[in-house]
């Protein structure tokens, strides 16, 4: 007598649908990811309990290094950057050729005074990345180039937002002079970049 044996299958799940979904999500995330560009100098922001994330708005960033140098990072938008460069050129009586303009559109951040901007932009890209400015953008009571950068950016597009990234050990008087400068041009709302810290339990 032949007994009826149940057919043995291995359990095979059809993965195709799952594969489709993962690909869809993967494509989405690949498209939306923006990798952080390496900073010229290491800046370790202080921690805070704030859970607000840096918004995506057109953002200019001021970096303050531990030894009190300022770097200015203009907005990403290339055409608006060009306009900014022209305006800054007008203010400081400088003209830039097309190569320098192209370099400015790609530059990560500016850390040189206006007088050295031309030679900085003329440098090849690799050198620019490793170039550590000895002085940063001047910011004192007589020479407020940093504030000029902010002001000219705002005149290009008043909707720009400003974020300030300072290092843990940046001396306060430096930050104070920056704040005072920003108050002078009536630019009063901005963000301080901080790192995450646990919220204390009450």
């Amino acid at each position: 007598m032949a007994r009826i044996k149940p057919k043995r299958h291995g359990v095979v799940t059809d993965m195709t649908a799952m594969c489709d979904v993962t690909f869809l999500l993967l494509t989405f995330f690949i498209m939306t990811t923006q990798f952080k560009k390496p900073d010229v100098e290491q800046i370790k922001p202080p921690s805070s309990i704030s859970e607000k994330l840096l918004p995506d708005a057109s953002l200019m960033t001021i970096n303050a290094t531990p030894d009190g140098k300022f770097y200015f990072q203009p907005v990403e938008n290339a055409s608006e950057r060009l306009e900014l460069l022209n305006k800054m050129g007008q203010k400081y009586n400088m003209t830039f050729d097309n190569n320098e303009k192209a370099a400015f559109q790609k530059v990560q951040s500016i850390g040189v005074p206006m007088s050295q901007l031309k030679s900085y932009l003329d440098m090849p890209e690799d050198e620019q990345k490793n170039f550590k400015s000895p002085k940063g953008i001047p910011m004192d009571s007589t020479n407020q180039q940093l504030i000029d950068w902010v002001q000219q950016s705002l005149s290009v597009n008043p909707d720009y937002k400003l974020a300030i990234k300072g290092d843990v050990t940046t001396q306060y008087p430096k930050i104070k002079s920056l704040f005072e400068g920003l108050r002078d041009i009536d630019f009063l709302k901005f963000w301080l970049i901080t790192s995450q810290e646990g919220k204390p339990n009450d």
């Binding site: 993965m15 990811t33 990798f35 805070s48 607000k52 994330l53 001396q171 301080l192 810290e197």
Partner: protein, 190 residues
């Protein structure tokens, strides 16, 4: 579906055919890989964003507008914090005549220190709605101190705070205090 349909062609002349299984492509490793990449991209996109805290500065008084009368803050309703060097912080509730180096108190930035002080001062304030914290960073302070103390304002929910410069009379006491605390330490190391 992922199965590839195999067309049966020329089956007539064919001899013994092996089983006609539809070749199935196993998608499992592909899904695995996809998930792995997906994880990577998800985490990099969310973690690369730094946190921010809002900061609003008071507008500078315009030259042509008349100055508003200086707002009087009652001493009991306010507390002054001096951010000193080497991550030291001092607090007092005195005015320029009564402040001396015994009532300029030193505390620390952690939760046992400054947070207790602020909470206590708030609880003792005569009018809690008007309780104001006056933050006075000295030139020796670092940026971290400033952010920490603004952060502390958020933690203790003291919405009213102001950042101003250190007054000369406070600076004198502060320097005396810092000098004093430094002086006994120096001979001790001998």
């Amino acid at each position: 579906m992922a199965e590839v349909q195999v067309q049966e062609k020329g089956a007539k002349g064919g001899k013994v055919r092996s089983k006609k299984n539809n070749p199935r492509v196993d998608m499992t490793p592909m899904v695995d890989l996809n998930f792995l990449l997906l994880m990577f991209f998800m985490f990099t996109s969310t973690f690369s964003k730094p946190n921010v805290m809002d900061l609003g500065l008071p507008a500078k008084p315009k030259k042509d507008t008349p100055k508003p009368p200086p707002t009087e803050i009652k001493l009991s309703n306010s507390i002054s914090l001096l951010l000193g060097k080497d991550n030291k912080i001092f607090w007092h509730q005195q005015d320029n005549t009564s402040l001396n180096d015994t009532n300029l108190n030193e505390t620390s930035y952690d939760r046992e220190g400054i947070r207790k002080v602020i909470e206590q001062a708030k609880a003792n304030a005569a009018d809690k709605t008007k309780f104001t914290v006056i933050i006075k960073p000295t030139d020796d302070a670092v940026y971290k101190n400033f952010v920490d103390i603004i952060d502390e304002m958020a933690i203790t929910k003291s919405e009213q705070y102001g950042v101003t410069d250190v007054k000369p009379w406070e600076k004198a006491i502060y320097e005396k205090k810092v000098g004093n605390s430094g002086a006994p330490a120096a001979p001790a190391t001998k």
